[in-house]
């Protein structure tokens, strides 16, 4: 540890001064360092699980704040439409261009197939999820984090209002409900973007393109994407609320919470996407 750094040559002391304790730990006593990091990780997972459990039980039990749920649904669903729509249309257009160079030597129907399957199964939910994580997850962490450091969350408790019920539950519920709606819109816009590029730029027959799209698309493709979206909605709002709720120490703490909310939501979305895909399509 730091105290043992006193002896030895000057360059060693200089290095030890510059390294944070955790890194120093890993060098001087690797096993203990790894153990501490691992235990810290387990404790964090446990805290998150407790938070999730408490929050979800409050989603079910009355009183239910319809006014707050409506406001959050507007914020998450309606006001995210432009950003999600733009992401979707360009993704669909790029997909058409790229798959044209890649797959058109096999069959003309391949472009329609690639666009519609990738959009509904993967890119619709994942890209919409990531965009909403940046937009909503950050805003939630900042808002709830500021409420925490200005004692507004304590004030809620003293006014006989459960902060989980008032702040967390409406956000989780709105996230779970609104992300599938957003993704459905993103799917439609994305496929339309692919159609535009295929017919106007690449010169495919519009009727054949629509026919090919419709033929390859199965209900399961869309449904699996919407289920993913609901899970991503939970992940985004949960990360925003959790990191905001547990933020400490003024402006810097709130900034840290905001970063953590977006980064952890993005990573969990990508991890969750793999797991869900494996579950849906492994057979």
């Amino acid at each position: 540890m730091r105290s043992s750094a006193g002896s030895g040559p000057a360059w060693r002391a200089a290095i030890c001064r510059r390294l944070p304790d955790a890194v120093l730990d890993l060098i001087t006593n690797p096993l203990a360092g790894i153990g501490r990091v691992f235990l810290g990780f387990l404790a964090a997972v446990g805290r998150l699980m407790l938070f999730t459990g408490t929050a979800l039980t409050h989603v079910m039990r009355p009183p239910i704040y319809f006014r707050l749920i409506l406001r959050q649904m507007l914020e998450i669903g309606y006001f995210s439409l432009p950003v999600v729509g733009l992401t979707a249309i360009f993704t669909g257009m790029v997909l058409a261009l790229q798959s044209h160079t890649g797959f058109s030597r096999f069959a003309e129907s391949a472009v329609a197939l690639v666009v519609v399957i990738s959009m509904t199964r993967e890119l619709g939910p994942v890209l919409a999820g990531l965009m909403v994580a940046g937009r909503i997850g950050a805003a939630m962490a900042a808002e709830i984090g500021t409420m925490r450091v200005t004692e507004q969350i304590d004030a809620l408790t003293t006014l006989s209002t459960n902060p989980y019920k008032y702040l967390v539950a409406p956000r989780l519920l709105s996230g779970i409900l609104m992300l599938p709606c957003l993704v459905l819109v993103a799917d439609i816009i994305g496929v339309f973007g692919g159609f535009l590029v295929s017919t106007y730029v690449l010169g495919y027959n519009p009727a054949a393109y629509i026919h090919n799209s419709w033929d390859t698309l199965k209900t399961m493709d869309v449904v699996s994407g919407l289920v993913k979206a609901a899970v991503f909605g939970l992940i985004i709002t949960l990360m925003g609320c959790y990191h905001g709720y547990n933020s400490r120490g003024g402006a810097q703490g709130v900034g840290q919470a905001t970063t953590n909310a977006v980064v952890s939501a993005s990573i969990l979305i990508l991890t969750g996407d793999y797991i869900l895909t494996a579950l849906f399509f492994s057979k």
């Binding site: 507004q152 004030a155 006014l159 006989s160 209002t161």
Partner: protein, 257 residues
């Protein structure tokens, strides 16, 4: 005692990690009295207040509110006890997403289930009690000055007519005149409601004015408790140094944590 204790702390201990913040605090607050807890920054005043409020759970000891131990109480019971409390936070802690009147009416609407229209009327009456007019009611808290925010926060704390009101540094950050206005409002509101008041402060002028008993917290222990009138003759060097604001004496400022 002739008057039963409204709040009773028995041997309350609280630590954060290796740092002991409260080290066996015992205190009795009589119903209808006003007690001020004084002490330097970091002496554990806020933690003590948060323990009484139920925002923090003590590691040891018990806290009796009207004879009921609130430590380790089931959530449903602690919600019932919480309804007896009103709290004025140091920074006001007003909800910035709601207009002033909804802030004041919050406890009435969410806690007591009053209709919004009735709660608005009650909120406007309470705002009038702290000297704020109807024109303020629909403003957002961010549009108010610090002194006005404190008054709105005071109105919010008393709107649901609590039996016990806690004040966390009620005069900190205000100019001397506004501080005295707040002091007067606190005295008036507590007297009108017949409530029991517990305040923490390091503003001695405010402490002398609003309290009838003073307790001094130092290093997690209550080192002196007595009537406000006797504070100048406490015979306690720590209390003397604190109330006279001297840099040298038995209390050494810990400049390095």
């Amino acid at each position: 005692m002739t008057v039963p204790a409204k709040i009773r702390l028995i041997g309350v201990e609280k630590s954060f990690g290796a740092k002991t913040v409260l080290d066996g605090v015992s205190l009795e607050v009589a119903a209808g009295s006003s007690t001020v807890i004084i002490g330097g920054s970091g002496s554990g005043k806020s933690v003590m207040l948060k323990c009484m409020l139920g925002l923090l759970t003590p590691d040891n000891g018990s806290i009796l509110i009207d004879g009921e131990d609130v430590v380790g109480m089931r959530p449903r019971d602690s919600e019932r006890v919480m309804k007896k409390f009103g709290m004025l936070f140091q920074g006001g802690a007003l909800f910035d997403s709601l207009p002033v009147w909804e802030n004041v009416a919050f406890g009435l609407i969410e806690g007591r289930g009053m209709s919004r229209a009735a709660a608005r009327g009650k909120a406007e009456d309470t705002l009038a009690q702290v000297g704020l007019g109807r024109d303020v009611a629909s403003l957002s808290p961010a549009e108010l000055s610090g002194g006005m925010q404190k008054r709105v926060a005071l109105a919010r704390a008393i709107a649901s007519e609590p039996e016990i009101i806690f004040f966390d540094e009620p005069t900190t950050g205000l100019d001397p005149i506004m501080a005295d206005v707040i002091n007067d409002l606190i005295i008036k509101c507590v007297r009108d409601l017949g409530a029991t008041a517990v305040s923490i402060t390091h503003d001695m002028h405010s402490a002398r004015k609003i309290s009838d008993r003073v307790a001094m917290l130092y290093h997690g222990k209550l080192i002196w408790i007595g009537p406000t009138g006797e504070i100048d003759h406490s015979g306690n060097d720590y209390v003397d140094q604190f109330i006279n604001g001297r840099a040298d004496g038995p209390i050494k400022m810990e400049l390095k944590g």
